[in-house]
Symmetry: D4
Subunit: 252 residues, 8 copies
């Protein structure tokens, strides 16, 4: 499925000149850029399109489904990332890839054969509380897997704001900052006001009562009075790490 006029013209000229048969040209214009496993269609072009192979969201898939998809991805790509997974899955993946690693706090599996550094600068990951660390780690593992240097600054919530100021040197030179917070979700606004780079806010489901599983933090972040803050889904450390990596990507 060529997407721009130049590619199409080139293909048509090859057809007209006979270098390409009509059938082959039709194939190229219609072929599937994905692999169909019946229960899943693996998007092998994503590596080219997005710069990273399709990541497997473990949640909601059976161990068998995950292993089959992983097997196919590893055939086409050097790296692999599985999120929201378990040690049980990890044991199976080890058979496919003995160099796979399990990140227990982040509940992720990674295979990292291509370790090219792709970041223009650093990514800082700040968490408000100790309980937010699993989500922060999901962001950190993702950003690392995508070729970035990561700084972790944990447990610097706004109720003891001098802790954040004490750690300022660790985040004020970052090219992009991820802020992970539950409860009132106020930390991204404070961090956002201190820096001039994009801040990606990740609400967590940490809290109780009127935190409503992360809604309080989510709303707080969406209403941030700092203009450099954008937001991802509750507990979506992966998404934050992914977008931060895109922002930080070296221009080639």
């Amino acid at each position: 499925m060529p997407v721009n006029r130049d590619q199409i013209k080139e293909l048509l000229e090859q057809t007209q000149s006979g270098r390409l048969s009509v059938d082959e040209a039709a194939d190229r214009l219609t072929r599937l850029p994905y692999e169909d496993l019946e229960f899943a269609r693996i998007d092998h072009h994503r590596d080219l399109r997005i710069g990273f192979p399709e990541v497997i969201l473990g949640q909601g898939k059976s161990v068998e489904q995950i292993v089959k998809i992983a097997d196919r991805i590893l055939t086409e790509s050097s790296n692999l990332l599985i999120s929201r997974t378990s040690e049980e899955v990890f044991r199976e993946i080890l058979r496919l890839a003995p160099d796979a690693e399990y990140h227990a706090e982040a509940r992720m599996i990674s295979v990292r054969r291509d370790r090219t550094e792709r970041g223009a600068g650093d990514i800082a990951i700040i968490s408000a509380g100790t309980s937010d660390i699993p989500v922060a780690e999901e962001a950190a593992i993702t950003a690392t897997a995508m070729g970035n240097r990561v700084h972790r600054i944990y447990d610097v919530g706004v109720a003891g704001i001098h802790r954040l100021f004490g750690a300022r040197a660790d985040f004020e030179t970052a090219r992009v900052i991820i802020v992970v917070a539950g409860m009132e979700g106020a930390l991204p606004s404070v961090v956002g006001g201190l820096v001039s780079v994009p801040v990606i806010a990740v609400p967590t489901s940490i809290g109780y009562g009127a935190s409503f599983g992360g809604i309080a933090a989510l709303l707080g972040m969406l209403n941030s009075c700092a203009s450099n803050v954008t937001v991802v889904n509750i507990d979506n450390g992966f998404g934050a790490g992914f977008v931060a990596s895109l922002i930080n990507r070296k221009r080639l």
Copy 2:
């Protein structure tokens, strides 16, 4: 309606000894400590019980109803406070009390004949943004009317946190602090972490989109990670000023 055993015993002894007739004793035991205007029952004992005459919530009452209630309160008390009211009501109140004042931003009317200072310390009132000032003023007028010294510190939201630190001298000696904020409602947590006195958080309906008329700020405050924060209803500057006054009240 005497409320404790000693008062009841004394009354019974007076009855037994004949100093009090049965009818009078029955009256005292059953009489109404309020005045019935049919559409409103004015609680004249509140002045004794709570330390301030009943405040008239203007919203939802007709001009006539407000004036009648105000008239009855001024008969029994030296002070008067009307909230969520208008200039139209003010013009009518001026006929009853030429010394009444209208506070336009706070939309309140006050009569203040008894100006005894009742506060043990100071009350600081901090607002996050310019648009939160009307609610902050409602708190300030209430606290002033109840005999307190008030410090106003406005527009020191968390996205430019050095503004708050610059004003620190103005609030760090207060006995109780009121923090008024809309949008993400993060300011009470930051202030709460800096001081060792009670902080009363007032969410405002300022904001748009996912602020949902103050819900985002309210939830943020209820989930504050600072332990010295309590919360009142959205836009309830009056309630915050009232409770702050009770906390600050001199022990007699």
Copy 3:
């Protein structure tokens, strides 16, 4: 991080006069008033700032994390409080502090070596139903740990209001009152109308159906028609006990 101009001037004069080296002065101006355990930053200055050492919220932390934090706090402070914890944690804490106590209903651990009485008056804690007692106990243990005399008045819900009146002597002399209620959350309004001191309302998640895990009680309390009521998060007995202690604190 000195916070006021006088402290800074004194430090600068010491530097100018050579009593303080530039390095030491820079240290004092930038040093961290907390201890970094990597997964947690313990705020040792809180004892000075807030008047009580940092309390450990057990929920969301591993046993190891709690024990390490507790160990560090006990090095610097004489008292310790852990909320939302378990007997399993308690067994580990006993090794650090054989004088630790476990409060099963409140699910709290306390170490209380400094038992100075710090309250100016008494704190009354009123619960609406039998099922609300665990939250009420969390408030009671907190207030006791912070040096207050506490009166418990349990199961006096509004549907049998004579029970509340029967217990009136037990709460009408308190300096501050905590009211804990689930279901419709009406009790704080009734209590608030009977007294002239601040009332801290704690909604609980007790109830079923349209109680929505405490939302009904929370909304009821936020909309209280009694002006002396402020609110904390659902089931936040600790926060209520903490603020009540600050309100009740003796002036020194």
Copy 4:
């Protein structure tokens, strides 16, 4: 549409015996017990079935529609009730029925030619605040129109509970009680605990901020800890007056 077997058997016997033609029998078995105005189908049997003619809900209908429906109802019934209406409609109704009355606070129009007393006892209508009176009046006018003696007890909210006790004589002998309250909606629980008759709770949209247009009061009432409380829709004074009348109806 005959509804029970006996009626059907009688009709069939009449058909079999020839006293009733097949056509007429078919008519009776299928005929419409209502009148079709195209935009409305008036249920003339309701008077028999429910004991009161269909009441016209004015909201959402044009003046012309209301007048046409009213005209048809007055042809078949002696009484008429229009709710959520306006003076403009009233002026038109006066042409049809010069004896019509307009109840401004309740925003209702009534025609009452049949004034039979139908209640076995009295109905008490209690409102928490002055602003709740319009809804209370809707209930009162409805219950009066349906042939009941009504006692109004207004402005006895729970924050000054002695006002309620002072009015106890006015409601403790009622056969059924309607309690109208906005804000926290606590009053039905308190009243419910004091009496042994059914209490119908009507939440009102009175309040601001977290009252959410009556949701807080509604949830409070649904979660009432008093077992004798049932609830109707927010601001549905009419429904409360209607059900109270059914409960109070004399057995014939």
Copy 5:
């Protein structure tokens, strides 16, 4: 706590005449009409006031607490009802009351020594689906325990409305009708339109997806276009049975 003037006058006259000592009179005026178990205050007057002893809500109470409260109630009353309980509790109650019964579907325990018939008419209990039966049974057991004749009409939901019409004879003579329904909660409106007696609607948490644990049914019932419908909390079969019993109570 005598409640009316006549009782108070009589007591005062007895005091004046010396038939009653001051101490005894003070006692009577202040004494507690409940028994304090520390974790619960049992309201023994409720039997007189409401016509049925306090019912124990099992949910949220320990087995020990339930048994202690049950023991005290059985000392003062002939009947007992425990809701939202379990077989485990039942085995303990059997030791106190060998004549206790366990109603498994309703999850209730009853002791019924006084079996006086108290109902003026019958109570019909209609359920929409098979899954709603446990809640319907809670209502049925409650109404039976309070001395009423009960008709059960189950699984007559609106999607097969001829089933409801087929059962019409079973409910059209009832004095009050309870309708239990989950999912869209439409049945009370249909039933309400067919009868002229009060209908008590009980939403259930039956359903999935957008039923949101009973919210859909609850809202449907609150918005019923039938004017004779009132509503109780989600799954509150007990409350419906209780109010129905009060409505149906014989006048004495």
Copy 6:
């Protein structure tokens, strides 16, 4: 943008044989099947793809924008439909199309030059109340414009269910039924249970209090216990009419 392989192969063969130039072939493969007005892109292929020209949603567009879009549509298609519009727009449209009609209750404008009958059967449109008629009319006008015979059955809500049964002959032969209802939204379930054809339920924002602008009706319909019911957005009469027309379309 040819969509299937055969079209593509044909185009390629024409290119190879020289009947089609490379440029023209590239044009066909990339050209825009819509017209770009800068503020709107009109989808002229929709007529072919969906069977009806793009309908203009008036809400949120300026008069000028609507007129420009209408002008372009009428160039390519014989029919036109504008929803959620006003008389002001109608006056402008009349200049473009003197045969345009304004349907005031539905707030729609239609031009109908092609009046081919396209329906296989009839479409019945049932409304619960008089106030629901505008939404029902929006559905009716849409279905009529799309070439269907429509039966209107209005004001047959469930609280007087005999009215629905009386009108049964009018809807039981329809090929598809639209049911429009506000308040509790129960009517689609009842209708759904009576017929064997698809029922499209349209919740309306009619109601007050806990109807929450149509949420109650929407949830009721989504939870319908009748399996033949699907739902569209609140007040979306147009969508219901559109889908009903697709279901009813004659097979060609």
Copy 7:
């Protein structure tokens, strides 16, 4: 319960002429078209009325109840369908019907003795992700059981939209399309814009955080900008399959 005038007239003429006794006529006019199992009323006429026997919703029913109902249905109908059930129930059903099948992913049991093809065209079932497959399968099994040819197109979510285009040939000739999606629920809009047949959207509870158990997908589908989309309840694959079958039914 004959439903139209012609049937009634015929029956009356038979009665009049004596061919039918009064008793038998009365029976026919009142008899129950369902079977009463006390806990369930089985609607045997549904087969005629809706074209498929009553389907048993397994959720919320005991194994015994399901088996009894299944037994009765199989007496009257050749086919049977049980949804939201388990292998445990399947083992019991096998005793009644050794030809029953269990569909594990869909959690359904089917008996299919009448395999008449009833569909005019094909039904396409499209799912966005691998985790949505169980709901898609519920729709597929239902549509198959009701006599339709079904095309399954799984894992073609909008974030890799070329996967959907690649599968276009599989759905563009269908008579009706079911689209199953969780998370943002965008797929029905995209599919809807590509075809000219009705699209039934099924939101699933797949997702986390702000997906709120399917609310995000549900709202997305209700607000679809494609006019040919209607929606069923979250996870209601059965309903979607049922309505699709009705739409696709051959005209006889």
Copy 8:
């Protein structure tokens, strides 16, 4: 308020060496980096810190307040931006800055004296519908004011997805993409899947019924299955334009 150790050390060395007086040093360490207008504190350092002067949010401020703040900003910065404002404010600003421009659709005022190009690449702004254009324009004006080249691609919603593909050349080379959409908010997911750069999603309040003022679109975007999507508040075009500018900023 110097923020890093080196700056502090330098300042201290200057003090020690006498080049800086103690008073001046104290001033620098404590001085306010903002200007206090009493109702607003203008953050002049933001220009340095964030790279753009403080933007004035017009909503909630009086004309006088806006003009005063604008006046002060223009003293210190060459550019100015006012959002959510009106022509009335514009007329006043023109007196301060005759070169100010009013962007009617975006409801913004800009002064742009420094027109340095600061973007490394282009920013594409895509809107789903015509009604979303005002929010898209707010983003476009902001990004332009911050020195970026902007491509506008409007009215390419997902229900006619070929319109998006037709415009692909206009957005596939952008460095960052803003996608503005109301209703179901599906467009960011589709765009996100087509590109390898960050996508900022802006939900709009466009829609009706179950769009709930933009909640449906917001939830859709938060749950996007495309990993490169982050979200800002409903209607927050400004925030999207601001963050896109930060992402696109040239490295210096």
